[in-house]
């Protein structure tokens, strides 16, 4: 019993309480209206249980992902003015089990308004009293899509910030589209990616995250919204410069072609690492000078990259390290992916100076043009 008390001493919730269950229809109402008119509408709410519901109006804003969010307060009264056009017969209703209640409301559209406006009627249960529990509240948003006739004119849009980005191990191309028109438009966007030789790398549809999730072929963009349109590349392209072309259509009307050059450097490829990308064997390179003052050390270099690499091996002198002269033989190697090659480090040591070991810097140039300094460290026999 004590243990039982102990388990529940930090009880985070109490006895389950059933929420008022109800169903709402319709959930989306499209109005095609004119300025200065009054539109009435009805919402049916069927109580699966008896209970009380209340109504409230919410503004709707479109997020960068294309998803819509509901804003109860602190919204821009100019941008979300439609919220103030909605009037209910009653603000709350008592539901009776298995009976349908009709909610009546009107929208009064001012004379000087044009374009697309969104607002939501939020229908939510009035929760009963509860003590120390996790309450679950279910609410249904009835979205009012109000289209007020507007004269057709030149489309005003913007497209910017096109980029190739690596995220979660995948390469995406993404850009931002802004709809500066007073009406909602369906954005049909296509991107072409070509390399410097104008070879087509990819041709993909660009859509908002919301459109991809919903399976929509075009992205809804509401007035004033700035949305991110994105496409996933099947594979990460090679590092290099790309010519990008984006063709946009808003509600079927073509928009100016957007062009941009992007220098892409993949973050998905591993950064050059001496021990992972170039395997140098032996791991501990011991130099043993001979009586003649010369030393010959055999070193194997393996290329574990998925691209060829060209390596220039140095020659020179380092009297501080007691080396009169050093060189690698050969002085240049080209390693294809997976290839391994031996080089010989020849050193002429100065007499009376004990070899302290030394770091040799090799210049590696990748097929992609990237450069990297490969460091080979040698040790004295006694160290």
């Amino acid at each position: 019993m004590t243990r039982l008390k102990c388990i529940f001493i930090f009880l985070l919730a109490a006895m389950p309480v059933w929420a008022t269950e109800f169903a709402v229809s319709p959930m989306l109402i499209d109005f095609k209206s004119r300025p200065g008119t009054r539109e009435s509408f009805e919402i049916s709410v069927t109580g699966k249980q008896s209970g009380k519901i209340m109504l409230s109006t919410y503004a709707m804003t479109q997020q960068e992902s294309g998803h819509m969010s509901f804003v109860e307060s602190n919204f821009d009264p100019e941008e979300h003015k439609a919220v103030n056009w909605i009037h209910f017969e009653h603000k709350s209703y008592e539901l009776i089990q298995n009976e349908t209640t009709i909610i009546r409301a009107v929208i009064e559209i001012p004379r000087n308004e044009r374009g697309t406006y969104l607002a939501a009627v939020m229908i939510e249960e009035v929760p009963g009293p509860s003590n120390s529990n996790i309450s679950i509240k279910v609410r249904y948003a009835v979205i009012l899509n109000i289209n007020i006739s507007h004269p057709s004119g030149r489309l005003i849009t913007a497209f910017d910030n096109l980029s190739l980005v690596d995220r979660d191990g995948v390469t995406f191309i993404e850009g931002y589209f802004t709809n500066q028109n007073p009406f909602m438009g369906m954005l049909d966007s296509q991107v072409q990616i070509r390399d410097q030789d104008r070879r087509l790398v990819a041709r993909l549809p660009l859509r908002t995250e919301s459109a991809w999730q919903r399976g929509d072929k075009a992205s809804r963009v509401y007035p004033g919204a700035r949305v991110k349109v994105v496409a996933r590349l099947k594979s990460s392209p090679s590092n290099g410069d790309y010519k990008i072309l984006v063709r946009n259509k808003l509600s079927g009307k073509g928009l100016p072609i957007y062009r941009q050059e992007i220098a892409y450097r993949s973050s998905l490829r591993r950064e050059p690492d001496d021990f992972e990308l170039f395997r140098v064997t032996p791991e501990r390179i011991i130099v043993s000078p001979r009586r003649s003052g010369l030393s010959y050390t055999s070193i194997a270099v393996s290329n574990n990259l998925d691209q060829s690499v060209s390596i220039d091996l140095p020659e020179g002198t380092d009297r501080d390290a007691g080396i009169e002269y050093f060189e690698f033989i050969p002085s240049h190697i080209l390693l294809k992916p997976g290839m391994r090659q031996h080089v010989l480090l020849k050193q002429r040591h100065l007499p009376d100076i004990e070899y302290p070991g030394r770091k040799f810097v090799l210049a590696a140039t990748f097929e992609s043009g990237d450069q990297h300094a490969l460091v080979i460290t040698t040790f004295a026999e006694k160290s």
Binding site: I7, F10, A14, A19, L28, K48, I134, S135, K137
Partner: protein, 146 residues
């Protein structure tokens, strides 16, 4: 010859009669618009409990409930919730729908009638990071067409 002519007249009349008959016909297109409808059932408050020492540092409290979503078209369900609190003390709380994320869309152009899960997890800080007692929070599930 007369027989042939009379036969042609009879055949012609048979072919022609439907043409004239169609002039008297009228057609009507029957249409019906079914509104988008959605309901969530079977959802109730749930308890978070732990298998660790209750009140112990880092104890993880979790709980979930299953509900049914029925709709005749595509809807979006999103969850919002705040940290569990007891007066001024609060416990970091995370929520999920179907084990991942706080929203989901049902499939386009398809009716939906399936069970889903809402879950919550709260993790205590140090023993003295929150006072003992009953903590509570409200989770709101919003069903919308967009």
């Amino acid at each position: 010859m007369k027989k042939l002519i009379s036969s042609l007249v009879v055949v012609g009349a048979m072919i022609a009669s439907p043409v004239f008959a169609s002039l008297d016909e009228d057609s009507a297109t029957v249409s019906m618009n079914v509104a988008l409808y959605a309901t969530i059932t079977g959802l109730d408050d749930f308890v978070l409990s732990t298998t660790a020492i209750s009140g112990g540092a880092g104890a993880v409290y979790s709980g979930s409930d299953t509900y049914s979503l029925e709709s005749n078209g595509q809807v979006r369900v999103s969850l919002s919730g705040v940290d569990l609190s007891n007066g001024r003390d609060s416990v970091p709380t995370s929520y999920a729908l179907d084990g991942a994320g706080t929203s989901y869309d049902t499939t386009l152009d398809v009716v939906h009638n399936a069970a889903h899960t809402v879950s919550a997890e709260a993790i205590l800080g140090d023993i003295s990071a929150q006072k003992a007692g009953a903590y509570s929070a409200v989770i709101t599930l919003t069903v919308a067409a967009l």
